[in-house]
Amino acid sequence: MDNEKKGRFGIHGGQYVPETLMNELILLEQQYEHYKKDPEFIREFETLLKEYAGRPSLLYYAEKMTKDLGGAKIYLKREDLNHTGAHKINNVLGQVLLAKKMGKTRVIAETGAGQHGVATATAAALLGLECEIFMGKEDTIRQALNVYRMELLGATVHSVTSGTQTLKDAVNEAMREWTNRVDDTHYVLGSVMGPHPFPMIVRDFQSVISEEAREQILAKEGKLPNAIIACVGGGSNAIGAFYHFIPDKEVALIGCEAAGHGVDTEKNAATIANGSLGIFHGMKSYFCQNKDGQIAPVYSISAGLDYPGIGPEHANLHDTRRATYVPVTDEEAVCAFEYLARTEGIICAIESAHAVAHARKIAPGMKKDEIIIICLSGRGDKDVAAIARYRGRKIDE
C-alpha cells in the first residue's frame, strides 16, 4: 500500500509528465481521496451506475458454449449490456462526476475504438459538461459510426493526424491539449494507464466488475472460479475483472493481448510478449519500442487494443506472476467473434473476442466442475462492418 501511495506498482507507474501538469495531478489525487470517502459522492456514483448504466451487469452461464467445448463451465460477465455498450461507462461516470465536483466545466478524452469516447460524451451530456474527444484519423475511419454517435451526444471530435493516427497518438494529443488548458478541464483517461493517480482511479472505478462477479459466482456456484479471462490493451476491463480476485491465489488471472497477424510478425500489439521496460505516457511499464526507445507502431484488428503499452498494475502482476498474459491473433479473435454469435447469440466487441478465443483454447482441457469467467467487455455492433470486410464482404456502415 505504501508503494501505491507513491503511485507505484512494484517498479512500474510514477508520474512522468511535464511540470505544467504536476499541480493538477496532485490536486486530482487529493480531490479523489476526498470524494471517494464522501457519502454524497458515493451515493450519486452508485445511483448513476444502477439507474443509468444498468448495473449490476449479468453473470451469464454460457451453457451451449460450455457443452460445445466440453470442459470448464463458462460464465460471461456481461459488460456489453451496460449503457453505451461497454465497461468504459463505469470509469467515465466516476471521473466525470469527480470532474464536476472539482468545479471543472470541460472534459477531454482519447479514444481508440470509440467506446471510451462515446461513454465520455454520454456522461458529459448527462452531467452537463463540455466535451472534446481526440481520436486517431485511422480510427475515425475504422469506427465512423462512433464518431457520429459522439457528435450526436454533443461532443466535438478531433481527428488526430500525427504519428500512426491511432490510440497512442490520440493520447499524445489529449495530453497536449490538457497542458494547454488545465484550469477548467479534466482529462478523462480511459484506461488504467498514464501518470498516477489515473491507474489507481480507473482501476477503482472498474473494480465493480470483479466485486459483482465474485458475489455472483459465489451465489450461483458456491465457489470461486478457476480462471478469469479478459482482453488487455491498456487493461481497464481486465484490471476491473481481476481486482477483487487478486487475493484469491487459486484463481488464475489471464489477460489476452492483441497479437494482430502474429507475435513473430511486425503487425501486432502484444506488449508483454514483445515489449520491454520503458517510460511513456506518464508511466513506467512495458512498451513495444525499438532499441533507442522509440515507441513502435503497433497493429491490431481491434482499435481498442491497438496500443503499444500496458497499464503499470498489469506490468507488476506480470512481474510477480500473479497474472498471465497471452497473445491472441486477429484470426483467432474473428473466429471467436463469429463463434459466440452462432453459439450464444451474442455479438461481442472484437476486443472481448480476444478473451473468448483464449477460453476456447483452454476450456476443453479443463474439468467439468472447473469454472471460467470471461469478461465480455463490450458489444460488437461497432465491429460488424469491419468483420464483414475482413471476411471479404463489402458492407457499408
Binding site: Y16, E19, M22, N23, L277
Partner: protein
Amino acid sequence: MSRIQKAFENKKAFIGFVTGGDPSLEKSLEFILTMESAGADLIEIGIPFSDPIAEGPVIQEANLRALAANTDTESIFRLVSMVREKSEVPLILLTYVNPVFKYGYEAFFAKCRETGVDGIIMPDLPFEEKNELAGIAESYGIDVISLIAPTSQERIQMIAKEAKGFLYVVSSMGVTGVRKEISVKLDEIMPQIRAASSIPAAVGFGVSSPEQAEKIAKQADGVIVGSAIVRIIEKHGANAAGPLYDYVKSMKEAITGK
C-alpha cells in the same frame, strides 16, 4: 566554472534549439556552428522521439524528418563529438526520458561526458521523478535542467532550490510553438525564483520575435528559442544557414540591447 555557468556570466544568454538530424547530422552541425557565430550562447540539441508530447506541430515535424533520416541516439552523440571538435559552445540535450532510460542512465551520462554534453532537459521528467537519474547525471558532471511552468506556483521554491545549470521557465501553457502573446507573469515568477536560488533563469516556449525577446531579457537571464528556428530550417532545408545567422543575430542583439 562550467561551460553553462560561463554562458550566463555577466550577460543575457541566447539559447537556440535544433532537432538533431533535421535534415541531416552534417546540416545540424553546420546550423549549430552558424548559430554560435551569430551570437548564440548555448545550444539545445533535440534527440528526435516518436511521440514528443510536449511539442507543437513545428517540432513534431522536425522529429519526424530527423527520424526519417535514421537519426538515433548514437548519431546524436556523434553530432556532439563533431561540434566539440570545433567549438566550446555549451551543449544541452533535449530528450524525452524514454530514450535515456532505454540507453541506460549510467551508459547515457557516461557517453554525455565522453562526447562533451553539458546538460540535459527532459520535458517529461518532473521534480518528483528526477531522483532516479539525478545522482548518476551529477556523478558524470551533467546538469539536469529543471523546468518551471506557469502552473508551478508553490512548487517554484522546491524546484529552484535543487536546480542545476539554469532554470528553464516555460513561458506558456501547452506545447512548444510560436505565440503572439507570452502568458507567463514574469514579474510574479522571477522574484520567487531569485528568492530561492541564485541560479540563472532562461525563458522559453513560444518566443519568436526580437520584441518578445527584448522584453523577456529585461527580467530573465536568457531567452530560449526553438520552434522559430526549426521553422526556418523547415522552410529553407539544407540552405537554412544564411537565414539562421541573420535571425539569431537579430535575437541576440535584441536581448543584449545592441
